[in-house]
């Protein structure tokens, strides 16, 4: 790999034009897109929250629905960021050659990637935010508590969008993404405390779970929604932030290697 692939990002404010391009496309399909993104997490939240919740009674000192709410908000954010940065970004990069057209203008590949990163995080915020609205509407969190969780949702969106863009840079087709989804994201969903407290897991598995960004997201969102103050706030934020920043840098290197040959 050439040294120039590792160079600092060369950004201009015109990355916003990439974000706006995606926004303009999405605006027309907004309603079906939101419904499509929310159907899955809402089915999980209501199905498991009420169905399984009726059997379980309480979990972690609260109703199961209330416990699950934070996990679903965080995982919906993860999936929305991932889908946008994998499938949609791959279409624009490889199938439609949209990125190729953009870099013929006075734009760098770094601008394009920054725009895509911010865009995927925006969609993730929309998904996570909608879940929070619904959780608050059903009385499982006060509106202020739901709002206090938004910064974490933003950061989680940036982290998973960055990781998704890095995976995108390695993809040779849409099939490639199913590996990432099943080998990385599904285990993460099980290990990060979405459905049950991770204290249920054996010690070594718990230790492994603590390196996952989703775990740290839920460790923040859950107490925020339930009315407590999360412990080790800065540690959790730092881990998610590190995933976001290191992930984006990795995505830059890999995308430059792929497209700037």
């Amino acid at each position: 790999m050439k040294a120039s692939f590792f160079a600092r990002p060369e950004l201009s404010l015109r990355w916003v034009a990439v974000w706006r391009r995606n926004w303009l496309v999405w605006r027309r399909l907004a309603i079906p897109s939101i419904l499509g993104n929310l159907a899955d997490p809402l089915i999980m939240l209501f199905g498991l929250g009420y169905g399984l919740g009726a059997l379980l009674g309480e979990m972690g000192g609260t109703s199961y629905f209330g416990f699950l709410a934070a996990g679903i908000a965080a995982s919906a954010t993860m999936y929305a960021a991932t889908f946008e940065s994998l499938f949609s970004a791959f279409s624009r990069m490889h199938v439609q050659r949209t990125w190729e057209a953009i870099v013929n203008a006075p734009m760098t590949l770094d601008d394009v990637l920054a725009g895509e990163w911010a865009w995927a995080a925006t969609k993730a915020l929309a998904a996570g935010g909608c879940i929070l609205v619904i959780v608050a509407a059903f009385g499982y969190a006060t509106p202020w508590r739901a709002i206090s969780a938004l910064p974490v949702i933003v950061l989680l969106g940036l982290a998973f969008a960055a990781l998704g863009l890095a995976v995108n840079a390695l993809a040779n087709g849409y099939d490639f993404f199913s590996y990432y989804m099943t080998i990385v994201l599904t285990p993460m969903l099980m290990l990060s405390g979405v459905f049950f407290p991770i204290e249920q897991l054996p010690g070594p598995v718990q230790a492994a779970a603590k390196v996952l960004p989703l775990y740290h997201g839920i460790a923040l969102v859950r107490p925020l929604l339930l009315g407590g103050l999360p412990g080790a706030v800065w540690l959790h934020l730092a881990v998610i932030g590190a995933y976001a920043i290191v992930g984006f840098y990795l995505a830059l290197i890999l995308t430059r290697r792929r497209l700037l040959k």
Partner: protein
């Protein structure tokens, strides 16, 4: 000052040297053609000149800016029409131009005025609100050309602007490109249509295996590198006839069962064909394609 100045440009992929020491000088207001068979290094040369990839060696100056260091600044005054259509399928014709203009930092009232004029120029005035997938190949290419003009560029770089188009669509593109040169814009295009190069380009360079084999005006290249008259002969017995024809021609070439005779005076050749009813022939003046084939050979490039 030249619009584009390239010295000693080199680029390798593994052991393959795709661009092997290219020198180019493009003057303001001219239409310059880069010709070459597939894989000659034309597209790579363009990408290097635009600063999209880094050269291994050599210097590039585009509109006074060193490339790739200040490629972004240079590209604000360049329009690009890529080889593959990459119009945005999610947008209408108008939206494609408006969205693309934003990548140059251009928007607002000025673009709203300019976009209809660009569509008019591309002959798409009536299709302003059409979706991309409803446009024909020729319309898409014209829209891509219009998109390359959103920033009112000094230089327009086109990679095979008419490949895949039918003759009507091609002629329309040529007419528009002539208008652009009449407006004083500089054009740099790659093509493997000799007819296109001969009609449009003031000067051209023939490229093969990463090198520029020759450059000059189309007429000068024909005058300098090829005999002025050609007789193409094919049919049964052309091979036997070829042996006899060698006496009358400066140069004889064969491709399949067609024989090409090049000479300044072809009267003796035509005379020798007079009695040969099984041989079909065509007498024509030599053109750029003859020069091209002479310099790059008749072998297939895949």
């Amino acid at each position: 000052m030249s619009v584009l100045s390239v010295r000693g440009l080199r680029k390798s992929y593994g052991a393959l040297e795709v661009v092997a020491g290219v020198e180019l000088e493009i003057e303001p207001g001219e239409c310059f053609g880069l010709l070459g068979p597939n894989g000659a290094g034309k597209t790579t040369t363009l990408k290097l000149c635009l600063g999209l990839i880094e050269p291994d060696a050599g210097t590039i100056e585009l509109l006074g800016e060193p490339v790739p260091r200040r490629a972004r600044e240079a590209r604000t005054r360049v329009g690009v029409v890529p080889q593959f259509d990459n119009l945005d399928p999610d947008f209408t014709a108008t939206e494609n131009l408006l969205v693309y203009a934003r990548y140059f930092g251009l928007s607002g009232e000025r673009m709203r005025e300019r976009v209809p004029r660009l569509l008019e120029f591309a002959g798409l005035g009536a299709r302003a609100d059409a979706r991309i997938n409803t446009l024909s190949g020729g319309m898409k290419r014209r829209l891509t050309l219009a998109r390359g003009l959103v920033n009112d560029p000094q230089l327009v770089v086109m990679d095979e602007p008419t490949t895949g188009l039918d003759p009507q669509a091609r002629h329309l593109i040529w007419e528009r490109l002539r208008r652009l040169t009449a407006e004083g814009k500089t054009l740099l295009l790659t093509t493997h249509f000799m007819e296109e190069a001969e009609r449009l380009c003031h000067r051209l360079a023939i490229m093969d295996k990463g090198r520029i084999v020759v450059q000059g005006t189309p007429r000068a290249l024909i005058a300098e590198h090829i005999e002025p008259q050609v007789v193409e002969v094919h049919g049964q017995g052309s091979e036997a006839w070829m042996q006899a024809a060698r006496a009358h021609c400066a140069r004889v070439e064969r491709a399949g069962d067609t024989v090409f005779c090049y000479a300044a005076d072809v009267a003796p050749v035509l005379k020798s064909l007079a009695g040969q009813s099984e041989l079909a022939y065509l007498h024509r003046p030599a053109n750029l394609e003859d020069v091209f084939l002479k310099l790059t050979g008749r072998d297939l490039r895949d």
